[in-house]
Amino acid sequence: SQQGEEDPQALSIQEGENATMNCSYKTSINNLQWYRQNSGRGLVHLILIRSNEREKHSGRLRVTLDTSKKSSSLLITASRAADTASYFCATDVTNSKLTFGKGITLSVRP
C-alpha cells in the first residue's frame, strides 16, 4: 500500500477562499513534499518540509508537518482559478525513493 494518503480526494471552492489539503503517512520520513499536477502535464514541486520542521511558507502556500501524528497539511490561501489542479504529497524515506499518495483534485470556481 502507498505511504501517503491525501484527504479529501476532491475539493471544490470559490476563488478567493482558502483550500486545505491533508496527507497522512505510515513510516518515519526524511522529508515530505507537495507537488501539483495540471491536467495532462507533469508534476511540479511546490514545497519540501524536513522531518525536523513543523511549518513552512512559500508565497500563498503554508505547509505543516506533525511527525507524532504522521500527518501534513497544505494550505493555499486566497485561491485562484489557476490553482485548479491535482495535488500530491510525497514522502522521502530513502534517498532514492519518493512515495506518492493518490492525490487531491482541487477545483477553484471563478
Partner: protein, 113 residues
C-alpha cells in the same frame, strides 16, 4: 530549456509490440526515476538509478527493462506490451543528497490497443 524531457509524448501501439520511451535530463542530477501513473492518477515508482546503477526495482514485470547509457539518460523499454500497460509514464530526476525535490518530465501517455 527543458530540464527533463521525454519522448514520445504519446504512444499508441498494439498488444504484443515492443516499444521504448526515452528520457534525458540536463540538470546534472545523479538520480533518475521512472514512475507509472494509472487511470486513477495513482503514481507508483518503477525504477530508480544512481549514476547509471539500478537502485530500486519495484515489483515490475521483467518485460520492463530500464537502460541508463549515462547519468543524463534513462530509457524504458517494454516488451510484449499488454493492455494493462496503458498508463502515463513519467521520468524524473533529482540530486543524490537528501532533502531535495524531484523534477518531472511531461509524461508519455502509452495506449495499448
Amino acid at each position: 530549456d527543458t530540464a527533463v524531457s521525454q519522448t514520445p509524448k504519446y504512444l499508441v501501439t498494439q498488444m504484443g509490440n515492443d516499444k521504448s520511451i526515452k528520457c534525458e535530463q540536463n540538470l546534472g542530477h545523479d538520480t533518475m526515476y521512472w514512475y507509472k501513473q494509472d487511470s486513477k492518477k495513482f503514481l507508483k515508482i518503477m525504477f530508480s538509478y544512481n549514476n547509471k546503477e539500478l537502485i530500486i526495482n519495484e515489483t515490475v514485470p521483467n518485460r520492463f527493462s530500464p537502460k541508463s547509457p549515462d547519468k543524463a539518460h534513462l530509457n524504458l523499454h517494454i516488451n510484449s506490451l499488454e493492455l494493462g500497460d496503458s498508463a502515463v509514464y513519467f521520468c524524473a530526476s533529482s540530486p543524490l543528497h537528501q532533502n531535495t525535490e524531484a523534477f518531472f518530465g511531461q509524461g508519455t501517455r502509452l495506449t495499448v490497443v
